[in-house]
Amino acid sequence: MQQLVEKWSPRLISGFSLVFLAWFVFSEWGGLVRFGNYLAGAIAATPGSVQTIWTYYGGLPAEQLLPSLLVGVIFGMVTTFIISLTTRAAIRLPGFSAWAMFSGAGAAIIAYAAGMITLNALLVGALVAVVVAWALQPDMRAFLSVDTARRAFSRDLIPYTLLAMFGGAVGGALGSQVMAYATQHCTYAPDAPLVQRQIGVMVTAFGTLFALMPVWTLMLWRRRAQRRGGTSGYFRGFALPLLWLLPTLLSLIVFLYYPATQIISLSLKLRRHPLPQERFVCLENYVNLAQDPIYQNSFIATMLITVAVVALAMSAALAIALLASQKVKYAGVYRTLLIWPYALSPVVTGVIFYTMFQQQTGLINYALQQTVGASPRWLTNPDLAPWVIVFASVWNILGFNILFYVAGLQNIPRDLMEAAEIDGANRVQRFLRMTLPLLSPFTFFLLVTNITYSFYGIYGAVDTLTSGGPPLGPGGRDGGATNVLIYKLYQDAFSPGSPAGSAAAQAMILFLMVAIVTLIQFRFIERRVTYAE
């Protein structure tokens, strides 16, 4: 029997897969042909686009090309030089501590309050963060000693360092053109405003970073491989791993990278959805957003609502999970019921909360009217409306958080807790010193997902409950109390006549924000997380 199963199950599985594939190809033949035609069209268009790029650079004035190349070369050389030194253990990169982050953020806020434009304030913040990080270097002596310098410039390292710098310069020059070409070198135009020039340098540096990343990965990988003592467990060549990665890469290119380049290109244009007319405006959309009080309000509203949602949803979930993991009768039923709200989409949640918080006909106000005689305007009062959104979102995501916390609590070894109890730790101590640290991987995971939910998933609740309102200031001059970034983005992207170029710029900014938050989380918070070995 065992043998029969072992012999036939792979064949059955491959058989079913083949049948499925055949059915898919048959039923989706039309779509596949169209898809194939699109791809063929894209490939056929390649020589044309190479021609376009060639003629573009042929007609580009040197005063626009050279500065962009220079930025790339300098940025590439300096960064690759530092990295090459770290790979040879000559120096160590400073760790960005929480202190550095806090002082950077504080400096940025102070600079902004002092009247600097947003971008410059952010630059000041970044600089302060870097300086503080260097200053708080744990082994400053090792870092600044003559020994370090000698090692950095020792004879056997020089050829390697020079090679790295050369590679960095070439890579930087090429990489600088990624974004410079995408923006048509418009930020280097002689008549470009100062703000756009500043952003332009940063954007070029950013593009360079992407082009250099593979070079650095290669350098760091060699070092790690040396440290690990060999390259076992790695693919030898490049062909085989590439082949395995091909399907993923293809779908990423078609569904992610290509649309992303379209969004970048749209964000540099003035365009009205869904009209075909468009005009290239360089970084105007970004500059206008940075100076728009309504967009600034959306930014602040998003931050405040996110903080409230994450704090409430996670603490409430932990409390409920602690109760739900007690050994009581029908615990399974309770848990299922507690997890239930997560099965509802944010839109349905919004509709449920709308019927509850409606001023005249809602359940909440009926109860309040009967007891204390008040009937607050939940949805039209700028101070209350964000809280309704927060409640709805917390309720919606609570089940998800409980699910993970219940699982986490079940994972905590019982003998450990018993040992603590015998040692005389009371309930509070056990919770603070044992349970909480042992749950930290779950807390970390939930933090990331809850923040992402508050940035993106909140749209449905806002749309059904408040439509981004109520307006702040006369005529909504200062934005809307619940006009969060994702809601504003959707409004600006998909209603007829809306500024689609600005919406694309907003999408880029939102993407960068989430990327930065995720990076920070993985770099700084994950380190403090205790994963069970």
Binding site: V33, P474, G475
Partner: protein, 446 residues
Amino acid sequence: MMVMILAGIVLVLPVAAQDAPIEITFVHIFGEVDNEEDITDVRIAVIESIIDDFMAENPNVVVRSRSTSTDYVEVFNNALAAAEQGLAPHVIQVEEGLTQIAADSQLFIPISDVATPEQLASLDDFLPQVRDYYNVGDDIWGIPWNSSNPVLYYNRGMFEEAGLDPDSPPRTFAEVLEVCEALSAALPDLQSCANWPMVAWFPEQWVSMQNVLIADNENGRTARASEVFYDSDEMLLVANWWKEMADRGFYSYTGSPSNYTGEAGLFITRRTAMTINSTAGLTNFISLSERFGIDLGVGRLFIPNEDATNGVTVGGASVWLSAGHSDAEIEAARDFVFFLTNTENNIRWHQGSGYFPNRVSALEQLEADGWYDENPFFAVAIDQLRESEVNAATAGAILGPSAQVRGFLIEAFQSIVDGGQDPLEALQTAATRGTAELQAYNSLFE
């Protein structure tokens, strides 16, 4: 690229035989039916029977009616997305607010370019107030199909309880305040005396009644509008009165803007004594009032003051033809559009929906048949429209980014009614934002 897409379609579709029927697609917002027995919305039934009649008269044409959404904006977006793939529907229902953007979209062809002289001549039969709304410059883009305007719905029983004459609903802003004083005193349980959707459509009506424009260039008729006059004295008059209504507890709304259904619900469940809504909902108001035992009254939309007699503007939608099809298909689509809006079908549509008849001949026929004597409510909207002057103010404004600009006006009224902001300051903000939006839009066409 286009060639590749076309090649793809040719590969996929079986090659059509030469004598195959001409197929045209008509998209509208009234929903779809899979099974004819399931029809509950009488409006779809009317549309389907008109289509059947057209196909019976034109055996070589097949008309497919589609409803990709029940929302005007979605239907419009979907049509443009389909056009990008070379699959544009032939006849598209376009809402009044989308007129300018649709004309700018390069998807449509003006009907005046393809209509036969007889067909063009038949347009003279349309009420001028209706026809003008859909013309941009000298082009006739869409043929008016479902036209509506706002009317006052009121609860006659409550009027009697308050000692008011149920046969004379309030006619002016001042009378509304008087009536509300009496109603609120007599019926303390009312949530408020009146409610209506928080939309830009009503203030636009009240400004039109005072013969004042919403936007420059004759309300965007002679050239693209580049400035909105939301801070005019006439709009301020509306805002001050609306604010007084709210401050004295006479006005309330559901809390969400543009909630036509929700506001109607408040009225039907006796939380308010008066409401304003579109005539498009007339049949629903009548049947729901019967079910909930309300003695329904229908009156004209009240005017700001005795001098404001210029009249109302039109709402609703028209049917447009899309470009990029074979001549035979465009001809068939054109004929269908004129069939859909001819006198006979205009009458069927009016009786089945509550949208008003657009054609003078249809009106005369209905009057001769005694339809309005039997159904006096249906006469209210059409009477207030026919008595409206024909000028730039009643033609209504066409604005490129109309959803955005109107949104600013809604936010202004929200901040006045809910946030207690100064009306003039709020309207000035709306005007500044609206004008900036229009100029940003127009800069695409310079």
